[in-house]
């Protein structure tokens, strides 16, 4: 984050964020992570590595998990963006969020929104993925606290939710 270049021109664009249209004026070189955190106050997406290696900045764009630290806001104009704040509906946790709680799948939770969104994307793409698929798919989301075993258990539990 915070890699905005000096002397950039501003640009007005509309994003669909968590089902709501948002018309914003942002510097043309601004990354999505910064727009979400600074302009929209959606701080569940987090900066950690800034170079696409850790997954703490993960959000869904048209259902696909992407690193918002590597994505220019202008690139996602008109697309549907889901952040962790938009996952629960009417105060009801999403089943993946609930599974993470039930299986104690976090510690400091700095990685958790990114992991939950990646899990949602995983389950969109794969019906009942096996462990190897889960490990491979979630390998881009680091958890320094090392909650991986419980995360795997939470994802396994989500299969039964899907069934």
């Amino acid at each position: 984050m915070n890699k905005a270049k000096p002397m950039m021109s501003n640009r007005t664009l509309t994003l669909q964020v968590n089902g709501q249209p948002q018309t914003l004026e942002v510097p043309s070189g601004q990354i999505l992570l910064e727009t979400l955190r600074e302009a929209l106050d959606l701080v569940g997406a987090r900066n950690s590595c800034g170079i696409g290696m850790c997954g703490t900045c993960t959000v869904l764009v048209d259902g696909m998990a992407i690193s918002s630290c590597l994505t220019l806001t202008a690139q996602v104009e008109g697309k549907h963006i889901t952040t962790i704040e938009g996952l629960s509906q009417n105060g009801q946790l999403h089943p993946v969020q609930q599974a993470y709680i039930d299986h104690g799948a976090f510690q400091c939770a700095y990685c958790t929104p990114g992991l939950i969104l990646s899990t949602v994307a995983l389950l969109n793409e794969h019906v009942n993925p096996d462990d190897a698929t889960v490990r491979e798919y979630l390998a881009g989301n680091l958890c320094r606290c090392g909650s991986y075993v419980n995360i795997l258990n939470a994802v396994r539990a989500c299969h039964t939710i899907n069934d």
């Binding site: 976090f106 939770a109 700095y110 979630l138 320094r144 606290c145």
Partner: protein, 751 residues
């Protein structure tokens, strides 16, 4: 019963909805952005620092340099939690690449970055020294004139007649081990924000040591401690690194110069590597052993690379001494633990601090001995492990000792005595290894809490235990709930905030569950006493005849004569009852020449056992199965305890196989998460299991680190078991494995 249950973390919903209020999220009205201008040379005398052009830049509000500390009424330039050797910003001397030289407060990051380019620094380079052992040699460049031999600390342990011990041995073994600089790499980087108002300072920071931050800041700014308020929201990981005080003095100095607006300083990932690291260490272990596997003597020499400033090294170097011999019965033991200044970034605590390096050494060494003597590595350990009532090398009598149980639990989990299929006709070979660890905790420290019960029956626990992700607040709430006989839902935990929550040494060295946990028990006991006193006139019995449990005050002999807590307060018209609880230990005062005395209230104990596969063509090591065990005394929350055990193993896998801060001429060349790799889902064993051992009558013991230090030696021992190659320097990379396999092949050919 709330203790022993896997209660979800109290703020679980916030954790899965992304609303945990980390310091990195903090936004204050009118807040400015802080930025650090850093040195690009490892050792230099400053000739000129010109910030005038940067100051002129519109949007720059203030720039802090050492000149701001030069007057009579200015803050003090130097700080430190033990040795005050570190300047807030470098003055006439620069001591490592990346040392802060000037601080900028600006309206935006873009402006702060532009200002950085306008700062001019002229300096004269002087010779630098990066290797700890070389820094001790006569004629080496000196970092601090007060420490002419670069030695910031030398801890000595002297037990028994070491020479007689070696003379009595059948075999002498001597090996050298090394561990590299590593980085804690919390996913949330270090953050501090500061604001001054009416001569008082408030700091929001992701720190493991709120009260130490307060003390250090009050010393820098010559304030009463009460005039400094330190607020610590939940951390996005700590791992020891956030016990290092560095961002807070800079944020406070910026806000001081600015005057009326808050300033927030967030380390970038690259800056994180310049802010704190893990001690690199070189360790020489020499043992005298009888042919039956009995030890006669052990001598350990450790060179800790502390970097340019002492930070917490002054108290970590003695801890490293205590952890160096290993948990074994050895009649003569000598340790020399040297903490040494070099021109590198500061080293401080890294999860398993001063244990991981030493355990890698003594546990690899144990296997070298076992193989040479033809004794099973597990048997050699069990034969020699310390037991309760044994006398340790400090002369202290040991209590609550469970090394054998820990080691056996891990080894049995793995199936140590089952046959292992070592080869399957491919280039891959399998092997197994075990390791065990002991560490002291922070002795001579105290923890305090306050517990409030209100007229609705709600309980609020005020504690300075930092929620680092370990679930500390949940564990404390469970302890309080059980001790007061209320449901966990009745609990709210507040803190840390030095204006509201009582003092606590720090959240480090796995001390909180034990220290703060017992403070909570004491606070709850005194709150129950207050309840009995308040209820006595209502029940018309004296307080001594009353019991307090399960939400009621009742007559001990007639339990049906009872009254709910809330009603006691309601009828007596009391808004709230409050009690404080305190717990402290006085150990840790050792003789400086011999290390004799009582070093710790409790010993931390853990073990690990693993099976690895080594690809003999590429050198790649895969840990297939790992079983860990820690001694928990009494488990407060099984799920959280399991996360600590597994989290340690995964953290340890990083340090064992992947992590090394690469440094060239004092310059870190991999300060990012692409080149400095952390363990991902693909690096963890397919079978990863843990157990927390309990013991009848035992109290809560810390488990935040115990299963970490055994990881590296267990893997190194398994590699040796698989391919006969012994690697003595971490990390255990494929290149090193391959090299040792080849060297070995050549040696075999010559025979």
């Amino acid at each position: 019963m709330a203790i022993g249950k896997s209660v979800p973390m109290l703020d679980s919903v916030a954790r899965v909805t992304g609303t945990v209020p980390y310091a990195s999220n903090l936004k204050l009205p009118d807040m400015l952005v802080g930025k650090v201008f850093r040195s690009s040379v490892p050792h230099a005398r400053t000739i000129k620092l010109d910030v005038s052009a940067a100051e002129q830049l519109p949007g720059v509000v203030a720039i802090v340099t050492a000149a701001d500390f030069a007057g009579d009424d200015t803050p003090n330039l130097h700080f430190g939690s033990t040795i005050q050797d570190q300047p807030v910003v470098a003055g006439d001397r620069i001591r490592f690449i990346g040392e802060p030289v000037a601080l900028i407060a600006a309206e935006s990051v873009v402006i702060a970055d532009q200002a950085m380019d306008l700062i001019e620094l002229e300096y004269e380079e002087i010779p630098a020294i990066f290797d700890a052992e070389e820094a001790l040699l006569p004629g080496a460049p000196v970092l601090h004139e007060a420490f002419p031999d670069n030695l910031l600390g030398h801890s000595k342990l002297r037990r028994g007649d070491i020479e007689a011990g070696f003379a009595a041995a059948d075999e002498i073994f001597e090996e050298v081990f090394s561990s590299p600089v590593a980085q804690q790499a919390s996913l949330e980087t270090q953050v501090a924000a500061a604001r001054w108002k009416d001569g008082k300072l408030t700091v929001w920071t992701g720190s493991q040591s709120p009260y130490t931050v307060r003390r250090v800041l009050s010393a820098i700014f010559d304030l009463d401690v009460e005039d400094v308020r330190v607020i610590v929201p939940p951390l996005g990981g700590g791992f020891g690194g956030k016990g290092n005080i560095r961002t807070q003095p800079m944020a406070a100095a910026l806000a001081w110069k600015v005057g009326d607006r808050p300033v927030k300083l967030v380390m970038t990932r690259a800056e994180e590597f310049l802010t704190v690291t893990k001690h690199a260490a070189k360790i020489i272990v020499k043992s005298g052993v009888k042919l039956d596997g009995t030890f006669t003597a052990r001598k350990v020499t450790i060179y800790w690379n502390a970097g340019a400033y002492a930070s917490s090294s002054a108290h970590l170097v003695p801890a490293g001494m205590l952890r160096a011999l290993g948990p074994y019965r050895i009649p003569a033991g000598h340790v020399d633990s040297y903490g040494i200044y070099t021109n590198l970034p500061i080293a401080a605590a890294y999860r398993g601090a001063m244990s991981s390096q030493g355990v890698f050494a003594h546990e690899s060494h144990m296997d070298t001995i076992a193989h040479r003597l033809g004794i099973d590595p597990l048997e050699l350990r069990i034969k020699n492990l310390l037991r309760t009532d044994d006398i340790f090398a400090t002369g202290e009598r040991l209590h609550d000792i469970h090394f054998v149980e820990c080691l056996e639990a891990a080894a049995d989990g793995l199936g140590w005595h089952e046959p292992l299929q070592r080869e399957n006709g491919t280039v891959k070979k399998r092997g197994r290894g075990v390791a065990v660890m002991m560490k002291n905790t922070i002795a001579n420290s105290s923890s305090e809490c306050r517990i409030k019960l209100d007229a609705e029956g709600r309980v609020t626990l005020y504690t300075s235990t930092v929620e680092t992700g370990q679930g500390g607040h949940t564990a404390m709430a469970q302890i309080a709930a059980e001790a007061l006989g209320v449901p966990i839902e009745a609990l709210t935990v507040i803190g840390p905030d030095t204006a509201e929550t009582p003092p606590d040494a720090q959240t480090a060295s796995s001390r909180s569950t034990h220290m703060m946990g017992n403070a909570v028990l004491n606070g709850a006991a005194s709150l129950r006493q207050h309840l009995a006193e308040a209820a006595a006139p209502i029940l018309e019995w004296s307080p001594e005849d009353l019991s307090v449990a399960d939400g009621y005050v009742f007559v001990t002999t007639q339990p049906q004569e009872r009254i709910p807590y809330a009603e006691v307060l309601g009828r007596k018209n009391i808004a709230a009852l409050t009690a404080t609880g305190k717990y402290w230990t006085n150990e840790g005062k050792l003789d400086p020449e011999t290390g004799q005395g009582i070093s710790t209230p409790d010993w931390h104990q853990g073990a690990g056992a693993c099976e690895v596969e080594v690809d003999t063509q590429t050198g790649k090591v895969t840990v297939l199965r790992y079983h860990s065990a820690s001694f928990a005394g009494r488990v407060v929350n099984p799920t959280l305890a399991g996360l600590q055990n597994d989290g340690n193993v995964i953290f340890g896998l990083g340090a064992s196989l992947l992590e090394e801060v690469a440094i060239d001429g004092g310059q870190i060349t991999n300060p990012n998460l692409s080149d400095y790799m952390l363990p991902s889902f693909l690096d963890i064993p397919v079978e990863l299991k843990n157990v927390s051992l309990e013991a009848e009558g035992s109290t809560f013991q810390g488990i935040g680190e115990m299963t970490l230090p055994p990881v590296a030696p267990a893997i190194a021992n398994a590699i040796y078991d698989a391919v006969g190659a012994r690697i003595r320097d971490l990390p255990l990379t494929a290149e090193k494995v391959l090299r040792v396999i080849h060297e070995q092949g050549e040696a075999d050919d010559e025979q």
